[in-house]
C-alpha cells in the first residue's frame, strides 16, 4: 500500500492541528511556536498548567570549585553504591564457591554467622547511598526553584452541564414513571446480591452441635500421661511439684484443650486447701489436677510459684490460687481453672474419674447453656 492510495480508509490519517485539537493549538500556530526559544516554550507550557516559576536560585556556577566538589561528592556516593551492590553479589554468589559456605552449622563458622549481616550491610548501604546521592544531587547541583501552581475549585459550567445531561438521561429512560421497572430492579439486585454471597455459608459450622467447645478428650478411666507419654504413679512426683499431663488417647498431647496440670501439694498447702463447693473429692491424696488452659484467653498457664501456691498466666498475668480451687486472685481472668477429678486405677496409675465437669478455656456467650 502506498501513501497515494485513494481508497476510503487507506489514506494517512494525520490530523491538521488547528482544526482538531482545540485549546492551545488554536492560540499558537506551529509557525509561532517555532519562533520561541526553549525556555519560553517551557514557561508557556507551565502557564497552561497554572504553574509559574517565581524564583530560581541557580545551581553552582559551571566550572566553579563548588560545582566540581559537588559533582565529586555525588559521583563518589553513587560509585560507592554500585561497588557495594557488586559486593552483595559477590557475597551472595561466592558463598560456598570461592568463599566459605553460608549454611547453618551446629558449630557456626565466622562466615556462616556473618553471611546474613553482610548481605544486609551491602544491600542496605548500597540502596541508602543511592538515596543519599539523589538527595545530594538535588540539593547541591540542581537549581532551586520556587514554583506556584493555581488551585481551582470545581467548574460551575461542568457541574451545570453534567447535571442537565444526567437528568435528561433519566427522563429519557422513563424510569421515574415506570415504577414497575424500579421495583423489579430492586428485587433483582437484592436477589443477586444474596445469591452471590450464599456460598460463604460453607464457612459456617454449628458450634453447639456435640458441644465441641465444652468437651475434651478426658473421660472416665483415661490415664494421665507425662509429656513423654509415660503413665504416672502417686509416688512419681515430689511434694510442691507440678507437671503437665495429657490424656492417654490418640494425639492427646496436641489436643488444644486437654493439657492439664498435676500438682502434688506440700503438707502445709494441703492443710490450707479450700476446694470449690462440691469438688472436695476431686483430688487424690495430696494430688490435684487443674486445666492448663487459661479461662481468660486460652493461653497455657504455665508459671507455678509454689511458695505462694499461685499459677501465673504469662499472657495477661492472671493469677490463680491452687489451694483455693484455682480461683483467680489477680488479673483479668474471671473463672477458676476447671478441676479434673482424678483417682488411681487397679494398676496404681492416675486416671481421670470423669471428664471436666465444666467447659475449659475462655468464656463465651452461651457457655453455661451447652
Amino acid at each position: 500500500m502506498t501513501a497515494h492510495d485513494t481508497r476510503p480508509g487507506s489514506t494517512g490519517g494525520a490530523d491538521i492541528p488547528e482544526q482538531v485539537y482545540g485549546g492551545p493549538d488554536d492560540d499558537y500556530t506551529p509557525e509561532q511556536l517555532a519562533t520561541l526559544r526553549r525556555e519560553d516554550l517551557e514557561r508557556l507550557g507551565a502557564k497552561y498548567d497554572g504553574v509559574e516559576v517565581t524564583h530560581v536560585d541557580p545551581g553552582p556556577e559551571p566550572g566553579s570549585p563548588l560545582e566540581r566538589r559537588a559533582v565529586r561528592q555525588v559521583g563518589m556516593v553513587l560509585t560507592l553504591a554500585g561497588l557495594l551492590a557488586f559486593a552483595f553479589v559477590v557475597v551472595y554468589v561466592g558463598s560456598g564457591w570461592f568463599l566459605p559456605s553460608w549454611e547453618w552449622a551446629q558449630h557456626p563458622t565466622t562466615w556462616s554467622a556473618l553471611y546474613t549481616p553482610l548481605l544486609g550491610l551491602c544491600m542496605g548501604l548500597s540502596l541508602a547511598l543511592v538515596g543519599i546521592g539523589l538527595v545530594l544531587f538535588t540539593k547541591k547541583l540542581l537549581p532551586h526553584e520556587t514554583a506556584v501552581q493555581d488551585k481551582h475549585d470545581g467548574s460551575h459550567f461542568d457541574r451545570v452541564t453534567i447535571g442537565a445531561t444526567l437528568v435528561n438521561t433519566l427522563d429519557r429512560s422513563g424510569l421515574a414513571r415506570r415504577k414497575l421497572l424500579i421495583r423489579s430492579f430492586g428485587i433483582m439486585a437484592g436477589g443477586l446480591g444474596l445469591m452471590l454471597i450464599m456460598p460463604l455459608g460453607g464457612l459456617l459450622k454449628n458450634p453447639s452441635r456435640g458441644d465441641p467447645l465444652g468437651t475434651t478428650p478426658w473421660a472416665k478411666g483415661v490415664r494421665l500421661l507425662t509429656a513423654g507419654g509415660v503413665p504416672i504413679r502417686p509416688e512419681d512426683q515430689l511434694p510442691g511439684s507440678m507437671q503437665t499431663v495429657f490424656p492417654q488417647v490418640p494425639n492427646g498431647n496436641t489436643a488444644a484443650d486437654a493439657a492439664t496440670m498435676l500438682f502434688r501439694l506440700r503438707p502445709e498447702q494441703v492443710a490450707a486447701s479450700k476446694p470449690r463447693k462440691g469438688q472436695a473429692n476431686f483430688g487424690y491424696g495430696d494430688y490435684v489436677a487443674y486445666s492448663k488452659i487459661c479461662t481468660h484467653a486460652g493461653c497455657p498457664v504455665s508459671l507455678y510459684e509454689q511458695q505462694t501456691s499461685r499459677i501465673l498466666c504469662p499472657c495477661h498475668q492472671s493469677q490463680f490460687l491452687i489451694t483455693e480451687g484455682a480461683t483467680p486472685v489477680f488479673g483479668p481472668a474471671v473463672r477458676p481453672l476447671p478441676q479434673l477429678p482424678i483417682t488411681v486405677d487397679s494398676e496404681g496409675y492416675f486416671v481421670a474419674r470423669s471428664g471436666y465437669i465444666e467447659a475449659v478455656g475462655p468464656t463465651y456467650w452461651n457457655r453455661k447453656r451447652i
Binding site: G120, L134, K205, K368
Partner: protein
C-alpha cells in the same frame, strides 16, 4: 509523517522523532507536561506518607519472594532440615517451610527479616503520617474522604501485619492466634459462630493458617493496593495542602515542580526506605522462629508479646479488670470483649469520625487548603495528645511483664499503674498540652509586637538597662510591631533574619573564598558584612526614632522552631 515533516518546529533529531511517533500513538504529551509541572510543597512532614507508600512497595516485593518458598499448610511433618536442634520434631508444614526459608534458602533469612522490618516500618509510618494529618488539620474539608480511606488503610495494615506474623505457626504466633480466637469467641451472640467459621470447627483445626495466608497475600493486600491507589488519586486531584507562608494562599500550591526536584527527592527517599529495611533485615535479627519452636497448645514462653502495633490490644487486655457480665438465661459477655472488641471499636470509630465531629463542634465547614500549626488549635492538639497518651499507656502495658522483670518491679504494681495511668494521665496531658499551646501562641504574638530578643543589653543615659529588640517589620509610634500573626512560624532568633554572617561552605576547609562571600553580601546588601560596611549600629532597638530600618536588609531564613 512525511506530510508534516516539513512543518515548522517538528523535531529533526532521532530522539525527537521517536517522541513524536510515540505521542502520535498514545497522545501523552499533554498529560506528561501536566504531571511534570505539578507543584509539590516542600516540607519534611509531607514525606511521612511516602515512607508508608515505599515500605508497602518493599513489602510487596519481598513478600512475593517469600511466597516462592512458604507452604501454608498445617499438615504435620517431621523436620529433617539443616537446623539440627529441631531435627525429628513433628511440626506443621508451615513452620517447617519457614525454617527452610531461614536455613536452606540462600539469602532467605535476609529477605524474611527484611519483610518483617518493612512491616513494622509500614505501620509506624502510617501512624506518624496520621498524626501529621491530625495535628495540622489536613483532614478538614475537602479531605474528609481521604481521611476515612486513611483510617481504613491503618486498620487493614494492622490486620495484614497480624495475619503475616501468625502464618509461620511457631509457638509465639500460635499463642497470639489462640488469643485472637478468644477475642472472636468473646463477641456476644455470634462469637462462637464466627470462631467456628474462621477455624472451620474447634480450635485450632487444619484450616486457619491457609485462610490467614490467602488473606495475607491476596485479600488484604489487594484491598490495600486499591485503597492506596484511590488515596493517591484523590490527593493528586485535590492537590496538596500547605503550611501558611510567604506567597501561600488558599488558592495555590508553592513548592517544587514534580520534575526534576520533587521526583529526585522522592526517589531518593524510596531508596533510603528500602536501604533501611535491607540494613535492618540483615543486621538486626527479628522473630527468630527456630528459637520459639513449633506451636503446641500446652506450651508458652514468658514475654510472649505481639508485634508492636498489636501491643495496644495486648495492653488493654491485661489492664481490663475481671468483669464478666452475666445475663439471665445463663448468657454472659466475657471480660475480653470490652478491651479487645469494644474498646478498639470505639477508638477507631472516634478516629474515623473525628473530622465530622470537629466540624459539628467548631461549625467550621469551609474548605481549607492552608494547614494549621498545632499550637494555633489548642483544643484539637490537646485532644490528640490525650488520645496518644491513652494509646501509649496501652502499648507500654502490653509489655508490662518485661518491664516488671527488667526493672525488678512488682508485676501487680505495673498492672495497677497501667489501670490508674490509663484514666489519670490523659486528662493531665490534655491540660499540660493546652498550656504549652497557649504559651507558644503568646510568645509568637510577643515577638511580633516587641521584636526578637537580641541578647544585647543597653544602658540608657539615665541609667536604665534595656534589652534591645529587633522588630520584624514596620512599627507604630510606640515601637510596637504592626505585623499580624499569619499562621506561619515567627522567627525568634537573629540568625533567622540575617543577623549573622552567611556560613561559609565547606566541611574540613572552606570551598568558598571568604572574602568573596563578604563582597557578595555587601553587593546584595544583607548580613553583617553589609551592616559593617555602612557602619550601621546593630545595637539600637531598631525603632525608627533611633535610626533603625527594620524593613530593610537581612535575608530571612525559613524559621524552624
Amino acid at each position: 509523517m512525511a506530510r508534516t515533516a516539513a512543518a515548522p518546529g517538528v523535531p529533526t533529531t532521532r530522539v525527537g522523532k521517536a517522541a513524536y511517533e510515540l505521542d502520535d500513538r498514545f497522545i501523552v504529551a499533554g498529560w506528561l507536561r501536566r504531571t511534570m509541572n505539578k507543584v509539590y510543597p516542600d516540607h519534611w512532614s509531607f514525606l511521612l506518607g511516602e515512607i508508608a507508600l515505599y515500605s508497602f512497595v518493599v513489602l510487596l516485593l519481598s513478600g512475593t519472594y517469600l511466597t516462592f518458598f512458604f507452604d501454608a499448610s498445617m499438615k504435620e511433618v517431621v523436620y529433617n532440615g539443616s537446623y539440627a536442634p529441631l531435627r525429628g520434631v513433628p511440626m506443621s508444614a508451615a513452620y517447617e517451610s519457614t525454617l527452610g526459608l531461614s536455613f536452606d534458602v540462600r539469602g532467605g533469612l535476609f529477605v524474611r527479616q527484611l519483610h518483617h522490618w518493612a512491616a513494622l516500618l509500614f505501620v509506624a509510618s502510617i501512624i506518624a503520617h496520621l498524626m501529621r494529618i491530625f495535628f495540622t488539620g489536613a483532614f478538614r474539608r475537602p479531605r474528609e474522604t481521604n481521611w476515612l480511606i486513611g483510617v481504613t488503610l491503618f486498620v487493614l495494615s494492622l490486620l495484614e501485619g497480624f495475619a503475616g506474623y501468625t502464618i509461620p505457626d511457631d509457638l509465639l504466633s500460635g499463642t497470639g492466634l489462640r488469643i485472637f480466637g478468644t477475642v472472636i469467641l468473646s463477641i456476644p451472640v455470634v462469637g462462637t459462630w464466627l470462631f467456628f467459621a474462621l477455624f472451620n470447627g474447634d480450635y485450632p483445626g487444619q484450616f486457619v493458617v491457609g485462610r490467614l495466608y490467602i488473606a495475607h497475600v491476596l485479600l488484604v493486600p489487594g484491598i490495600l493496593l486499591a485503597l492506596i491507589g484511590l488515596h493517591l488519586l484523590i490527593l493528586i486531584k485535590q492537590k496538596h495542602s500547605q503550611f501558611p507562608g510567604p506567597g501561600r494562599t488558599e488558592h495555590n500550591v508553592v513548592g517544587n515542580r514534580f520534575f526534576p526536584t520533587f521526583a529526585a527527592k522522592s526517589g531518593g527517599l524510596f531508596f533510603l526506605v528500602f536501604g533501611v529495611c535491607a540494613g535492618l533485615g540483615g543486621l538486626v535479627q527479628i522473630n527468630p522462629v527456630w528459637l520459639w519452636g513449633p506451636y503446641n497448645p500446652a506450651q508458652v514462653s514468658s514475654a510472649s508479646q505481639p508485634d508492636w502495633y498489636i501491643g495496644f490490644l495486648e495492653g488493654s487486655m491485661r489492664l481490663f479488670p475481671a468483669w464478666e457480665i452475666n445475663f439471665p438465661g445463663n448468657y454472659a459477655i466475657p471480660a475480653p470483649f470490652w478491651p479487645t472488641v469494644f474498646l478498639p471499636g470505639v477508638m477507631f470509630t472516634l478516629l474515623a469520625l473525628y473530622p465530622m465531629l470537629e466540624r459539628k463542634l467548631t461549625r467550621d465547614s469551609a474548605s481549607h487548603q492552608l494547614l494549621q500549626r498545632p499550637r494555633d488549635v489548642p483544643v484539637r492538639t490537646s485532644a490528640g495528645a490525650m488520645a496518644l497518651t491513652f494509646y501509649l499507656v496501652l502499648v507500654i502495658s502490653g509489655g508490662n511483664d518485661v518491664i516488671a522483670d527488667k526493672f525488678d518491679i512488682s508485676l501487680n504494681a505495673m498492672t495497677w499503674a497501667g489501670r490508674i495511668g490509663l484514666i489519670l494521665l490523659p486528662p493531665i496531658v490534655y491540660v499540660i498540652t493546652y498550656r504549652i499551646c497557649l504559651g507558644l501562641e503568646h510568645h509568637d504574638r510577643e515577638v511580633l509586637e516587641h521584636g526578637i530578643e537580641t541578647g544585647v543589653i543597653r544602658r540608657l543615659p539615665h541609667g536604665e538597662f534595656i534589652e534591645v529588640h529587633q522588630p520584624l517589620g514596620a512599627v507604630d509610634a510606640h515601637g510596637h510591631g504592626e505585623l499580624a500573626y499569619g499562621g506561619a512560624p515567627v522567627p525568634k532568633k537573629m540568625n533567622q533574619v540575617g543577623g549573622a554572617r552567611r556560613a561559609i561552605r565547606g566541611f574540613f576547609r572552606p570551598v568558598e573564598d571568604p572574602a568573596q562571600v563578604e563582597l557578595e553580601q555587601r553587593a546584595e546588601g544583607y548580613g553583617l558584612s553589609a551592616a559593617e560596611d555602612e557602619g550601621r549600629e546593630l545595637t539600637t532597638s531598631g525603632r525608627p526614632s533611633e535610626g533603625g530600618r527594620p524593613s530593610e536588609g537581612g535575608r530571612p531564613q525559613e524559621p524552624r522552631d
